[in-house]
């Protein structure tokens, strides 16, 4: 548990350092990571990128609220799968409240996303309606603040 919390925050921590922090041997730590990977608790190691800092990169993210008709026997799972298989779809959640599925889509242009919505998403039989919201600015994503933060140590150098 503690191991997962540590590498969720920083996937590039060295095994040696992890072992020291957790008061375990290096081998035991390695084994634990392999086990968590095999069990599927650890699915991958990603990098958090602030794309707005990357010159020439242009991209758009949209959050789409989708109302659907659940299918007998499989409920929402089948239609969710139909949606999440599209590679431009980055996240799909089943929601409580006013709509059923929350779909996050990334594309190069607004046109590209509107084409996805009109030609692919709305075209699905089970989809009743969609509401598309474009993201204007990312402030925080996956627990990481995107603003230029000043993380200088504001403490005095030596204190009692």
């Amino acid at each position: 548990m503690e191991l997962l919390q540590l590498i969720e925050k920083n996937g590039r921590l060295e095994v040696e350092d992890l072992a020291k922090m957790l008061d375990l041997s290096v081998d035991a730590t390695k084994q634990m990571i392999v086990k968590l990977e095999t069990e599927g608790a650890i699915l991958g190691y990603a990098t958090v990128i602030n794309w707005s800092k990357v010159l020439k990169y242009e991209g758009v993210t949209a959050m789409i609220d989708v109302k659907v008709t659940p299918t007998r026997g499989v409920g929402f799972d089948k239609v969710a799968e139909r949606i999440y298989r599209f590679p431009e779809v980055k996240a799909v959640y089943l929601m409580s409240g006013a709509y059923d599925l929350s779909v996050s889509v990334e594309g190069k242009t607004m046109m590209e996303i509107s084409r996805f919505v009109s030609e692919k998403l709305s075209a699905l039989d089970t989809v009743i309606s969609t509401t598309t919201h474009f993201v204007l600015k990312k402030y925080k994503h996956d627990g990481v603040i995107f603003d230029d933060q000043d993380d200088d140590d504001k403490r005095i150098m030596v204190s009692p």
Binding site: M21, M157, V158, P160
Partner: protein, 390 residues
Amino acid sequence: MRDQKHSYLSRSVDQLKPSGIRRFFDLASQMENVISLGVGEPDFVTPWNVIEASFHSLEQGYTAYTANAGLFELREEISKYLNKSYEVAYNPENQVIVTVGASQAIDIALRAIINPGEEVIVVEPGFVSYAPAVALAGGTPVTIQATAENAFNIQPYQIEAAITPNTKAIILCSPNNPTGAVLSKDELSGIASVIEKHDLLVISDEIYAELTYDEVFTSFASIKGMIDRTILISGFSKAFAMTGWRLGYAAGPKDIIAAMTKIHQYTIMCAPTMAQHGALEALRHGNDSVIQMKTSYRQRRNFVVKALNEMGLSCHSPGGAFYVFPSVENTGLSSEEFAEQLLHEERVAVVPGNVFGKSGEGHIRCSYATSLKQLDEAMKRMARFVERRL
């Protein structure tokens, strides 16, 4: 200006030695690229909900004085918190006072109990302010030495040996700054019987109580018979990362708290109001943040203790606070030489153990309240330095 003979200064202030920490601060501040393990405060910023609550109180116009002893609601929360966490019962009406940091609580506690010439026992290595605070209150500090052999836990017989007819009180600090040592319930009981036998008071500085990693913390006041002999000192600085807010408190017997409130009323009025509102939020909804910070300190303690032992500095794993106190004796250097040469050669600032008292000699204090990245780099630099000396 008058000459030395006619100094305007008070003799008691003039005779105080400046803290050895000051010199290191000056040295380190002049250098670039220094990683400091010399900082005696958390590296976290105060939890956002606490900051936000303080903003809100200002927006609401809570900018006036509070009651001398502090907001009643805050005293109530403090009393509930002490009861729940440490099983000690204090009446918020007359047994709790909110102060400007735990430091002020110590100051007014000493001033409330000391008559001229009375002695207060101070354990070394210990926080640099205790002995000066005793002297400024007109008392005589009597130092006793906790030693590395006993994992820096003071032994009851050592206390007993220092007691004279003039002894009034002893100041205890567990978890300890600078050693990180934590007194167990049994050890506290041993001390309690000496206190009982000689009819003494204890000023128990429990500012690091939340930061214990291996065992459940025992408050000295919770030891049988000790609640009437203890002035419990604590505050928000360390547990809630609120050092700059300057907010502490004391809990104790009615008559002593009344006397402390009298001094407080004439000299301070009350602790800062916006800080008190922040503290209220910290006690009501701050527990998750404390747990998160505590986990992170424990991980870093493990990391540093391993790294120091690997480089050849013997260091036991302290149970609390955010300091380790390794021995540097095998390098052949005194603690000051070690700290000074390390700073010059590798740009890592640590505090030489002798500034915390005689028995701190041969040790250095490293604070691990610094990001893991910085700690990692600091350990690499120290390992290089030690390798050249061994």
